[in-house]
Symmetry: C2
Subunit: 170 residues, 2 copies
DNA sequence: AAAATATATGTTATATTATAACATAACAAA
DNA sequence: TTTGTTATGTTATAATATAACATATATTTT
């Protein structure tokens, strides 16, 4: 069994989140440049808002912020930006929460398994090849050809369960 | 690796669906009786509508039918019945489709992995212990304690991919 | 640079999904 | 049969998302 490929881990309280966001934004700019797609000011700002925490954010929460910044902001403003960002792999939708999280590895296409802490709300992302392979095998047994997997695991993260008592909050 | 526990397989065109529905309804009645909860006429009818096919059904499609049958039907009518049926394990929500499917094994609590054919819309349900264990192991590596897993796999079922050419449609 | 084209955003309206809150009815227990 | 409990009816509204068309901005071609 290979090691899990952790794309976005649960973070310690001590982590400097601005670094996550800055890093994501600059990877996004490079990636968009190399792909010849446009990370416009609006899209960049929406991505920034998605990265404002490690908790998934709702479209209308983004909209509430945008309305204070750009007149004429409306639902399509947000949904179109989110659609672009999802298409480019910068953002993933958490289906079970109708919410959106930033992707820690937007440059390459991948599957995702999300771990969602229902205590602190934080989301970790992995792309675990063992899980992918096992599901593919089991699906193949039933003659099913996979296009996309949605895996959203709910529970309690290590910070919230107090496993690391020196750093209680996520 | 154990054999996959298939709760609801993809069905052949030749299958008599009324049997699925009848069976589900009678298991539901027994299960509710033994639990001392009430499968009222309304709840029973909603379950029947959920079982009207192997494709997930939308709450408002149920409502459209109920409105022709019971005056006073309104969104809460449907959502309350669905909530009961979900709580009792008779129905599962497919989060990525905002839709509902009948469970083929409501009598005992289980995890689910859904295979969703985006050609014919049919949904198969499994509870595969290997998948559950692997995800639990990987999550444990990250210090994460699982409460519930949402696994919705999109792709093409065997009937639609023509693997069984004698019985093309699901 | 100007015109033409393509892409992105603004704007208004509406569709879809889901819940809150309170009233009445049906059922179960005492 | 009265009392309490659970289920349903009813009205209203919240939350999530898309359609359709107008305008603006960016890119390419002339
Ligand atoms: Zn961070
Ligand atoms: Zn947590
Ligand atoms: Zn059937
Ligand atoms: Zn199919």
């Amino acid at each position: 069994m290979r090691k899990t490929n952790v794309i976005t881990p649960f973070k310690k309280l001590s982590h400097v989140h601005q670094q996550c966001a800055d890093s994501a934004l600059s990877v996004a700019e490079e990636t968009c440049n190399s792909r010849g797609v446009r990370l416009t000011k609006l899209r960049r700002r929406v991505l920034e808002l998605v990265w404002s925490s490690h908790e998934p954010i709702k479209a209308y929460d983004i909209l509430d912020i945008l309305r204070n910044e750009r007149s004429g902001s409306a639902p399509p403003t947000v949904y179109r930006a989110l659609e672009f960002l999802q298409d480019e792999g910068m953002v993933h939708k958490i289906e079970s929460l109708n919410s959106y999280v930033g992707c820690g590895a937007p440059a390459h296409n991948h599957a995702s398994q999300f771990l969602i802490c229902h205590s602190c709300g934080a989301v970790a992302e992995m792309d675990d090849i063992d899980i992918r392979n096992l599901i593919a095998d089991k699906a193949a047994d039933m003659g099913f050809k996979i296009d996309k997997e949605i895996i959203e695991v709910k529970g309690i993260c290590s910070q919230c369960s107090g496993e690391y008592s020196s750093d209680k909050k996520c």
